[in-house]
Every structure is written in structure tokens, then in C-alpha cells.
Amino acid sequence: MTTFKKLLICSVSLIICFFVEIAIDMACGGEVDPYDYYISFFHNNVQRTQEYEPFYFTSYKFLYDDDERVSEAEINSREWATYLGGGVKAADVQKAMYRLKGNADTALYVGYLAGKGSLPDSLKNNTFLQALPSNKSALKYYQFAKRVESIANVRFEYWDPKEMDTEGLKSAGEEALSNANTENDKFIKLRYLYQAQRLLHYGKNYEQAANVYDKYLVNYKTDSHVKGWALALNAGEKRRLKDTIQAAYLFSKVFAQYPERRIQAYRNYNYINVKSSQVLALANNKSEKAVIMAIDGFSNSELDNRSLKEVYHYEPTSDMVGVLLVREINKLEEYYLTPTLEGSPILLNSYYNKLADSTKLHAQNHMKQLNAFCEQLASEKKYPEYGLGKLAQAYMAWMQKDTKAGQAYMDALKDEKLSDKFNDQKQIIQLLLTAQGMQQYNEVNEAALLPSLKWLDAKVAHEVNVNTSSRDWGFYGQYPFAATARNFYQNIMAPAYLKQRDTSKAALAMLQGDATIKKVIEPSYQTIGFWQNYLHSSAINKLVAWKKSPPATPYLNFMTKKLVIYKTDDLYGLLGTAYLREHKYPEAAAALNMVNEKELNKFPTNFYDEKATGADPFISQMADYPKLLLKKGGKGYNKRQFAQAMVAYQKQIKANPKTAATGYFDMATAIYNTSTYGNAWYLISYDWSSTDYGRKSIYYYDADYIKTTYAEKLFLQARQLSTNAEFKAKCTFMAAKCKQKQIKLPSYSDFPDYNYTKLQDAEKLYDKAVRRNPYFTELQKSYGKTAYYKLAVNDCSYLRDFLKRTR
């Protein structure tokens, strides 16, 4: 046996485990869904308008959505249609102006528009193109605009060496200006001026462009949005000419008045990076100040009461107030609610550590102030959707577990007429408050909860209408009601049932949280993990019973509907596994008899030869590694075969006490092998990870899977029943191996502050402990003369270290 193997055998690869744990922690993080990474119940789309959707809260993106809410092309097309009149349709304008492919555009330019030839078939019925030639000014302008596209509408590509044709742009800009000055038609004149400014701007002639704006455009009398686009250009000119505060101010005006350029203005405002106080100094009225403070607030992902209060102060009727308020609620959900919620160990996306006291205090103070603001909002009634204030107050009270106060706020809304969306949000908050107010989930309370749950269910069903799976990345981020339902069932109801020790109902709650899409339910990995790891046989028996005959009580009937996704086979497989974990072998065999043979024989692939052969758990080895999976010509045991074999051993031990010692030894060996250190872990666990080694106990079967306590007990029993010294030595050594597994391996996550020094100290203690295994003394004293003892000393470096010390 080489030194290398010896090292592997008894010395724990602390370093490997240490790094592997960290690597796995980081690698299994996966990509975060920026729309669903914290527990949320307050929908961000409750307001009457979605025009500020790009500014909804998410810490993970600069903008919630990158697309302008309104299309500039549509606006322009409408203006043209109105201007030309006579049945010209805006859709036709848009098609001709914005949607033609390059060659079609060119063909038109040299053909029909030049007075040569007729419209191609595809455009024969285009009302815009039909009307254009009869308006000489418009036609001339349109030809000009199309001509400059080749130098102005240039797509930026890094590796394209072509530069903007600054010369061409300058002369085209000047041409546009001279055309403007000879044009009497106001509609066309405006557009020539805009082109002049635009072309000069693109050619980097910022001063000239700004002059065009200042001289001709700033006071142009028109309602056309072209004026706004010129304003946006002018803001850019100011920026490039280093008049940054003015630039920011102008961008704030674009933001306010031209939704088709709102995101552009917002981005530019932020790039310029000036203090809002400086920009405020340029504002002429309250409305402008409101916008500046709102932009400030939208780009702040920290808790921020100031922007909200200021915007309300300047313009209480603005929808931006609502957006800012909802942002604050969502921020509180991320920073405060998610860490404090008593999640089950299977918390969603749980990147969160325990909430630090300072953060908690900060959030609570923030909520005090926010609450005062909401009070003001609700009582002053200036803000049109002032009901939002009470909803926010109720929700914040719920977050802080003040059910009474929350309910009081809800009651205050009783006589208010709320929008449909507000009513939905109200229902959600009511459900939360009711659940929170329940001392426990009993039949009465459950029945009271049912109507709300059914309502929520219907909402989810109505919302989800696509061909997708709930397991797809980004699913819950798109469907707020589905996310609300999932969060409620899996983060509030399931943990509550667990607290009451009603595991079967907790299991139902987990499953209930997974969305049903077109009658298809795909259990999430959280639900699957829960079902596989947290259910005792008693709980599973209940579930089997429910599946077999759906319960009569309406609540349970409702909650058990999704059991259809599990086949009876699956449930019996689970049940059998639970019995195995509980050492109830006859019951396990009976349950596993009900499972399809094919399913039972689906073994995991082993990491030696990537084959899925299963293992013989009765193989006894001194060393854990390398694992011997099968004897020559042997076959792997599936769960049923294992259960049956153990039943046979139990019978044998009872029938023939003389063979009890070896019987117990074999059983102990098998149970040891079902641990993470053995060759047949799959018999009691659905997963195996190298980080399971010596980890802290989480699941009810970790006593076997991690600690090997029952195996130790059986080894000792075997020893007690024997008189053979060699055999007893062997039992002792095996017991020592079990004892070793009961010493917890130190890991980084033991120390919430990731204190490396503390970890190192803990590792030193661990190293000492494994060399002071209590069975070592026994081995030395009582079995020091046996042949097996010599083997053990040869094999186990910890034993050798122990002996060195005691010499």
C-alpha cells in the first residue's frame, strides 16, 4: 500500500475540501435574475401608468428596461400624416420613412421620387408615397433627408475604420440651413432647421449647431416633437462644449417632455455627473425641479427618502412620486425583508447572510420616515393615487411584523375606491397580514385563508400564458403574481408548517408554490430538494394517502391538487428511502416493492469509471478510498434489494444468535457504506457532494449520512457479542472510523465574518481531535497484540500520530 494511498485513507484532504467548498459555493451561484433576486410581494407595476417602467428598482441593472416607452418613429409619422392630410395613414409614413431596406430606398430615390417611374408593387398603395409628389416642399425635403442618411445614419461598429464624413456633414448642414431660410412652409422649415442642427452636430461642429438652435429653434412656435429632439441635440452640444450644468438641465427638460427620448436624456444626465443642487439652481419652476430630483432618485439604489419628499413637495400630482415610493418599498424588500424572513433552509437565491444590526436599524429608521411620508400622501390627497400611501404603510407594518398596525391601515382603505391593480395589491397584503396574524395553521384558519389562496391561484393562471417552463431562467421575473404565489407558499407558509412540525403540509406548500403553466407543473429544485430531504416516512405516508384519495376538506383538497404531477411510483420510492433512513427495513422493502424495477435500477454514475453499476454495501474496507464498489462478478444493490438484505440479516440474527456478531458487523458495514464516505450513498441520499465530508448536519438522515452514528452503534454491538480478539479489534477500528466522522470539519461558512484566523484555529483543533480518537486508546490497550492492530497501525496515519504522542 503506497504512501499516497495511506495519506488518502486517514488524512482528510482539508485543503481540497476547503477549496472545493469555496469553488462550489461560487460556481453554483449561477446568474442572478435581475427581476427576481429578492423576496417581493409589492408589485412594481401597480400604478395607473407604466411610462416610468425603465426606472423601476433593481440593483442589478442601470435601467429596469432599456427601451423607450414611446416610439419616435411613430410620433414623427403621425405628424407627417396629419400635415399631409387627405387620407395619408401614419403606418404608411412609417413604413416608407423608416422600414424600407437599403435597395428599396435607393430605388425609390432614383426612380419615383425623382419623377422617373412609378411606385413598385409592394408600395403601390402607400398613401404617404402617393401624396408626396403633389407637395413640392415636402418632396424636396424628403429627398434631402434621404440623401443625407448615408452620411448621418451611420451605425457604430468598432472595427469599421470608416469615420463620420465630417466634411460632408458640415456642408449638408449648411445646405439644410439655407433651405430652411428659403422655405415658407412651417412644417418643412422646422425640419430643415432640425436637420441643419443635427448634421452639424454629427460632424462635430458643436458651436455651429448650437447657434442654429439658439437662433432659429429655441423660440420656434410649434407643438411638434421635432423641437424636443432639437432640444436633446442642444443639450448634447452644451455637454461637449463643457457647459455641463446647463447640459444636464436641458436633458432634464427632454426627460420631462419627450418620452420618446426619456432614456436617452436619463443616460446623458447621468454620464454628465453633476450635482443635482447645481442643476436645481437653473430650474425655472417647481415642475422642472421635480424632474431633476426624480432623476436623482431613479439612479439611487440606496434607501433614499429625500428624493421622494422633494419630488412630492415640488409636484405632488406627478406619477413619478408613485414610482419613487414603490422603489423604496422594493429596496426595503431587498435589504430588510429578505434577510429577516424566516426562510426555510431552502431559501430562494439565498445569497443573503443574516441581517446585520446596523442595516436593520437603518432600514427601520427609514421606514419610520417613509411611514410619515405615506401618512402625508394619504391625508393630503394631492397625489391622484393617494391610496398607495396606505398600502405602503400596511405593507411596511407587515414587514416589521406589526400585524395590528398593518390591519388598521388596511381598514382605513375600506371605503376608498381603488383601481383594480391597487385592489389586487390590497388583497395580497391582506393575505400576508392574515397569515401573519394566525397563531398557527389549524383547520379554522386554513379554511379562512382558502378564498385568498384561490384568488391568488386564479391570478397566476390568468397571468401565465406562454409556452415556457417555470424552471426557465427569468420566468418568475416576468410574472409578478406567480412570483408572489411562490414567495408566499415557499417562504411563508412552508416554514410556518415546519415550525408546527407539520412536514407533510409544508411539502404541499412547497409544491403549491411552483407555477402551473398550461396544466403542467414543473417542481422547482427547491421543492424537489425539500421533498427529498425533509420528509420522514410519517409525512410521506400522509402524502401517499392524499394522493390516493383526495381529501374532502376544501382547503386540503385545494392544496393537494398538484400531487397529480407525482406518480405513485415516485411517492413509494420516496417512502421507501425514508424508511431506509429510519432503519425500518421491512416497511422499506414493502414500499419499494411498489416501485418500478427500472426506476429502482437507475444508479448514479460513479466517478471511477463513469459507469452506473450501483455498489455492494456489504463490502468492508479498512480505507474509505479508493472505494471498492463491487466484488468480482458482483452486482449493485438497489434500494429494494438492500432493504430485503437487511431484513434477512435481522431475521438471521434473531434466529441464530451465534451468528449475531457477524450479522451485526455486516449490517454496520452496510449502513456505514450508505454514508457519504461509503460506496452506496445512493441508498439513502439523492445527491452526493465532496463538500458533504464532515459538514454540519442539516437533514434528519445526516446521523447516518454524515455522522455514521448508527453504524458505530452496530459495530459496538458486534464487538460485544464476540469473543474473538481479532474480530473485536476490527470492530473497534471500524467504530473509530465512525467516531472520526462525528467530528465536524471546520469550514469558512462557520464563521459569519469569514474570519480566516478563526478557521485556522478551528482546523488546528480538528487536527488534534482526529488524532485523539477515543477508540485509539482502546485499540492500543486491549488489542495491541492482535494482527489486525498491526494492519491498522500500518493503515492509519492518525493512529500512528496518536501512538507517537503516547510514547
Binding site: Y158, W159, P161
Partner: protein
């Protein structure tokens, strides 16, 4: 008989003398081409610059087309600060495009990305050369301070460049820094047709002291010698014409003060002259980013220094033609050198 002896002696003397003469001027005069690097992002015509080019009979201008670095996401190489031409190059001047590659990108790019990069570089360079008013170019130069860890990728890129159709088999040259010349084992020999030895930035810029980190013969000697003579390809010589102010605070390097000129250092209200090339700030000078008592080391390259360098280098060069390329062509920089001085430097390479 006597006249025959006389003739013989005369003939032998002439023979001996001429052989002596020819052995002392053992080699033919080398052909020296003087050129400049153009390293600004905007090319405009400048009388000073064209005058220098004319006087020094410079027929080539080595122009930086772009840097290549990773984009914001850190995943894709992109052109950075590409040159733009506000005027066309004079017909008398040949353009040699130079591309600077940031060494770090070679640590993370894959071969596939390098294939694409080679094609992109050639396409981009071709485009820019057209902007400059040239139909094409006759040599491409790559500038990269590669290291042992990026050597494999860098050489791979150079090989791929050779293969790009758009380059049509034109020669590629690469810049060579002194440490790469000296440590050929670690740095390897780049797969190019010519190398351009950067005889500048050789000292320790960041070390406090009176050294001249730009050009100092004692430093140069540490790297050169046989290395140069035995390098397996023709080598051009790059010489510096620039100067800068190196700032120190409490004898710790704090940067190069870009806004300080030599005249500023001689302003008694701002600086105190200590000795040699060291000056001390008299007061806080926020415009230059300096605080009171910060020290500045003025490094420049005097004409005599240039000439001494040329004298030192010349014997080590074995090629018949040498391109001497000055870094760099910029009004303010070159005005401090007379045509004579630069001509003399070139002459010393013959």
C-alpha cells in the same frame, strides 16, 4: 633592374597602403534612412513637421493607427483611440502603419479571437491608410511589450497576420524592447521580417534619483553587445526625442507631470533648482498636481546624448541599411533639435 625594384616597392607600398586604408574603412558606407514616429490621434499638416521631414530627407512616417485593448466588458479586443486624418499625407512621404497591442489582452484571448483580430487589424489599417490619402502601404509594424506568458499568443497573432489576405504578403516588423533583446531565451524571437529596437525608456523611471530613464548609455550597455549583432533579422533603431517631468513625493514616485515644461521648472516662483536634473516645488502647484516640496526630475535627450548613443550602437549593427526612427514627430518636441544635430546623429550610424 633597379627600376623594376623601384616599381615593385612602389607597387607593394601602394598595395599595403591601400589594404591598410581599406581595412580601416572595412565596410562600405551604410545607407541610413531617417524617419519619425507619428503618435498623435489627429493628423493635421504642420509646417514645422514637414520642414523637418524634408530637411532630413525622411521618406517614411511610422504612424500609430490605434491601440488594441479589451472593451468595457473585458471580453472582446477593440481599437482604442484610432487616428483620424484631417489632412492627407504628402505624396513624398510613405506611410508605415503601426498598431500598438496592449500586452494584457494576450493573456486572455483565445486563438480563435486572435484569428479574428488579425483580420480586423488589417481591415482597419487598410481603411485608415486610405483616409490618409494613400493607396496602400508597404510594411506593417506591430508594437507590443510582450512577456514570457504572452509570448505564445503574441507570436501566434503575428503568424496569423502574415496569412491575412488583405496584407498581401507585405513585410511585418515588430518593436523590440531592450529586455527582449537581452533575454532572447525567455522572450523568444518574434516571427517577423524586421525588428525595431526601442532605445529609450531603459532606466528605472520610478526610482528616485538623478538617472535619465529615457536614455543613458550606461543602461544601454547592460542590454546590448553581441545580442544586437547576432539578432537573426535586420534591426532598425528607435531613438527618443521627447522629454518629461517625473514627479516624486517623499522620494516616492507619483507620476509624470504632463503639464510641466522645462520653462515652468525654471520659473523661480514655482521651482527651486536643486542639482543636475532635480527641481523642487516651492509652493503647492495644483495645476501640475504637485504639493510643496514635491520633487521633479527633468529627463530629456540632449543632442550630444543622441550622438553618443549613435556612436555606441553603430559597430553592433551588421545590416547595410538602417532605419533610424525618432520618437516622435511633434512640433514642440522636435523644435528643440536642429536639423544639423539630427543629421549628425544619423551620420554617426554610417
Amino acid at each position: 633592374m633597379r627600376s623594376l625594384q623601384k616599381t615593385l616597392v612602389l607597387y607593394l607600398t601602394v598595395l599595403i597602403l591601400s589594404s591598410c586604408l581599406s581595412s580601416s574603412c572595412r565596410r562600405h558606407d551604410r545607407l541610413i534612412n531617417t524617419s519619425f514616429y507619428f503618435w498623435k490621434t489627429v493628423y493635421k499638416t504642420s509646417k514645422t513637421e514637414s520642414d523637418y521631414l524634408n530637411h532630413l530627407h525622411s521618406r517614411k512616417l511610422y504612424m500609430r493607427i490605434m491601440d488594441v485593448d479589451m472593451d468595457e466588458s473585458g471580453s472582446v479586443p477593440i481599437p482604442v483611440s484610432p487616428i483620424s486624418f484631417q489632412a492627407r499625407l504628402p505624396d513624398t512621404v510613405e506611410m508605415i502603419p503601426v498598431v500598438f497591442i496592449v500586452n494584457n489582452i494576450l493573456k486572455i484571448t483565445t486563438h480563435q479571437q486572435l484569428d479574428a483580430l488579425a483580420a480586423n487589424i488589417v481591415r482597419f489599417v487598410n481603411g485608415k491608410v486610405q483616409h490618409a490619402g494613400k493607396a496602400s502601404f508597404n510594411e506593417l509594424q506591430i508594437d507590443c511589450d510582450w512577456t514570457a506568458s504572452t509570448r505564445e499568443n503574441y507570436f501566434y497573432l503575428l503568424e496569423q497576420l502574415h496569412k491575412v489576405k488583405g496584407l498581401k504578403g507585405k513585410p511585418i516588423s515588430a518593436t523590440l524592447r531592450l529586455h527582449q533583446l537581452k533575454n532572447q531565451k525567455g522572450s523568444g524571437i518574434p516571427p517577423v521580417n524586421r525588428a525595431m529596437l526601442m532605445c529609450y525608456n531603459m532606466g528605472n523611471l520610478r526610482k528616485y534619483g538623478e538617472q535619465n530613464s529615457i536614455l543613458e548609455i550606461s543602461e544601454l550597455k547592460k542590454y546590448l553587445g553581441d545580442n544586437l549583432t547576432s539578432y537573426p533579422m535586420p534591426i532598425d533603431i528607435g531613438l527618443p526625442l521627447f522629454s518629461w517631468a517625473v514627479a516624486f513625493r517623499n522620494k516616492e514616485y507619483i507620476g509624470i507631470a504632463k503639464r510641466i515644461s522645462f520653462d515652468d521648472l525654471n520659473n523661480k516662483n514655482q521651482f527651486i533648482f536643486i542639482k543636475n536634473n532635480i527641481y523642487r516645488a516651492k509652493t503647492n502647484l495644483p495645476d501640475y498636481g504637485l504639493k510643496t516640496n514635491d520633487e521633479v526630475r527633468w529627463e530629456n535627450v540632449s543632442a550630444s546624448n543622441l550622438q553618443a548613443t549613435a556612436t555606441y550602437l553603430s559597430p553592433f549593427i551588421k545590416a547595410d541599411t538602417v532605419n533610424v526612427i525618432y520618437f516622435h514627430l511633434d512640433d514642440a518636441t522636435i523644435k528643440t533639435y536642429t536639423y544639423d544635430n539630427l543629421q549628425k546623429t544619423a551620420h554617426l550610424f554610417r
